[in-house]
Amino acid sequence: MLTAEDKKLIQQIWGKLGGAEEDIGAETLWRMFHSYPPTKTYFPHFDISQGSDQIRGHGKKVVAALGTAIKNMDNLSQALSELSNLHAYNLRVDPARFSLQFLAQCLQVVLATRLGKEYSPEVHSAVDKFMSAVASVLAEKYR
């Protein structure tokens, strides 16, 4: 359960990313494809070479959605409802426990490489909980 303190930390951290959202999104996806090759199976239609326009574009989309989620942490289910439908009925990415956790791990690594010591245990914990909540909501309508 996200505490008030968790929410504050997440908003603070997100605030520090100032404009780098597209880079962060692209790097997260790139790391995910590199560390977890099976995740590439969801993108047969993409040019997934490093720095490709499609990766940048998609990374930007993903991070924008996370930004929306952060602005609506008290109501994730509603805020992500459309995305929830999309993931359940169209995309059918293997649910939270498997594939979305790889995205979450890579996002955390990207944040950690950018924030260094500032990626404290408390921030790490808050982000982990948040990504877990997002993954749960995205998998809500799977069955």
Binding site: E27, W30, R31, H34, S35, Y36, Q105, C106, Q108, V109, V110, A112, T113, R114, L115, G116, K117, Y119, P121, E122, H124, S125, D128
Partner: protein, 147 residues
């Protein structure tokens, strides 16, 4: 048989050479107990684990973290023989410690994040991929003797 490219071995050993095992081990274990508080179930005898500050400052956590990461170092020294290297520890974790192997995966992922925070931009995507592979293999080896 696990296959490591020369580049992967280089990425592992060169990074490991710069790791302060005592600090990094303590950090990783503390984060495990903070980020996944249910893992505290294995450490009832460790005293005060009442919050992030208490956990980080807990001398038993620090000592045990160092022990765990020192042991992990054996994998780095025996990249071509990880399963056998951890055979006995696997039996121990199953028969005596009763640790759900899922916890090895959790700790492995945390270790990767600790390394990322420490090495920042030097923890490149290629570096991360290699280390995710390594922590996965160690977790697998530790689960291998479970019955």
């Amino acid at each position: 048989m696990v296959h490591w490219t020369a580049e992967e071995k280089q990425l592992i050993t060169s990074l490991w050479a710069k790791v302060n095992v005592e600090e990094c081990g303590a950090e990783a274990l503390a984060r495990l107990l903070i980020v996944y508080p249910w893992t505290q179930r294995f450490f009832a005898s460790f005293g005060n684990l009442s919050g992030a500050t208490a956990i980080i400052g807990n001398p038993k956590v620090q000592a045990h973290g160092k022990k765990v990461l020192t042991s992990f170092g054996e994998a780095v020294k025996n990249l071509d023989n990880i399963k056998n290297t951890f055979a006995q520890l696997s039996e121990l974790h199953c028969d005596k410690l009763h640790v759900d192997p899922e916890n090895f995966r959790l700790l492995g992922d945390i270790l990767v994040i600790v390394l990322a925070a420490h090495f920042t931009k030097d923890f490149t995507p290629a570096c991360q991929a290699t280390w995710q592979k390594l922590v996965g293999l160690v977790a697998h080896a530790l689960a291998h003797k479970y019955h």
